[in-house]
Assembly symmetry: C2
């Protein structure tokens, strides 16, 4: 009874999230997920390459969004300003997903293997940002450094924002990037 496949996929995603939260990631089997979603275990692996990936389904979209923002940024901005602008754009999406993002974040934080996958996704994303910067003419290694340092700064801001969402994410982003500049100014060369 294949209507579009998107339904089964969506049910699998929901079932997985529920079970992971109820029993923990490690004590949840893919068979259980499939059962709750009303499909076979095999079908689970047709939709998701592995047990972790269910929780990272939106990552490609976020990456798309961010790199697009970088590409469309006005001329003459410094690399980190381009990134700051992109993060602020993406933040609007994130602000909408807060209620979904929070339990997911807890789950990831509590599960080493999910933490690994999360870091891998972050790295991929940072590399994509570096590539987008490179396409704007930023020199290779500088682009990579900017992307990674910028991403670290973004995380920095996001965490602060999640722990106290009364202020807007934009505020935290401005603050975090200001911190980064402060750090940079403190470097004494050739010590």
């Amino acid at each position: 009874m294949p209507r579009s496949g998107a339904e089964a996929r969506s049910r699998l995603k929901q079932a997985a999230l529920e079970l992971y939260r109820e029993n923990g990631f490690d004590k949840t089997t893919t068979a259980e997920i499939a059962a709750r979603a009303g499909v076979t275990e095999r079908t689970f692996f047709r939709h998701f390459p592995d047990k972790r990936e269910v929780l990272f389904d939106g990552e490609a979209d976020l990456r798309e969004d961010l790199t697009q923002s970088v590409s469309e940024a006005p001329e003459g901005l410094a690399p980190l300003d381009i990134l700051l602008r992109a993060f602020k754009n993406a933040g609007r999406i994130m602000e909408r997903n807060l209620p979904f993002a929070e339990p997911r974040r807890d789950l990831i934080a509590a599960t080493p293997t999910l933490r690994e996958r999360n870091l891998a996704k972050a790295a991929t994303l940072a590399e994509a940002l570096a590539e987008a910067l490179r396409e704007r003419g930023v020199e290779d290694r500088l682009a990579r450094l900017a992307a990674h340092a910028g991403w670290a700064t973004f995380q920095h801001a996001t965490q602060a924002w999640i722990s106290d969402p009364t202020r807007g994410l934009d505020d935290y982003l401005d603050g975090a990037f200001a911190d980064l500049r402060t750090l940079g100014a403190g470097v004494q060369l050739g010590q």
Copy 2:
């Protein structure tokens, strides 16, 4: 015939590295590794929690070394300068391990699951650096930001150095941290 266990462990490490390089990580089974090391598969898992961990055996030592450097740094240095100093110290160890580190690096780069583990180790290490900075009185979030941005910068320098080891690692570190300062100086706030 247990003499100290350290021998079996060492043979397992060597056998694993060889087989990973010969046949690739994915096409190597833990049974094969154990066989080449002359022990049982079960013994492999007594020494290493999983198949990947064999390649990251020295990580705890490096972390120890770096955090110690941070703790012992003289007063009055800016956070990033403390890190730069610690990286230069650790670099001396790394320069000795270059011939071993290079194939390992290739292997990790070519194997997604090893890349994940590597990122996790890096993150743990960065967190340890942040903690060490915190103990010196650096404010919490600033310490974390400095540690992560500093670590990204360290990687930046290390990669450049590996691709052309004629110049010393210290040179690259100075250059990379200078780049970071340049980036920071370019940030225009409140754009």
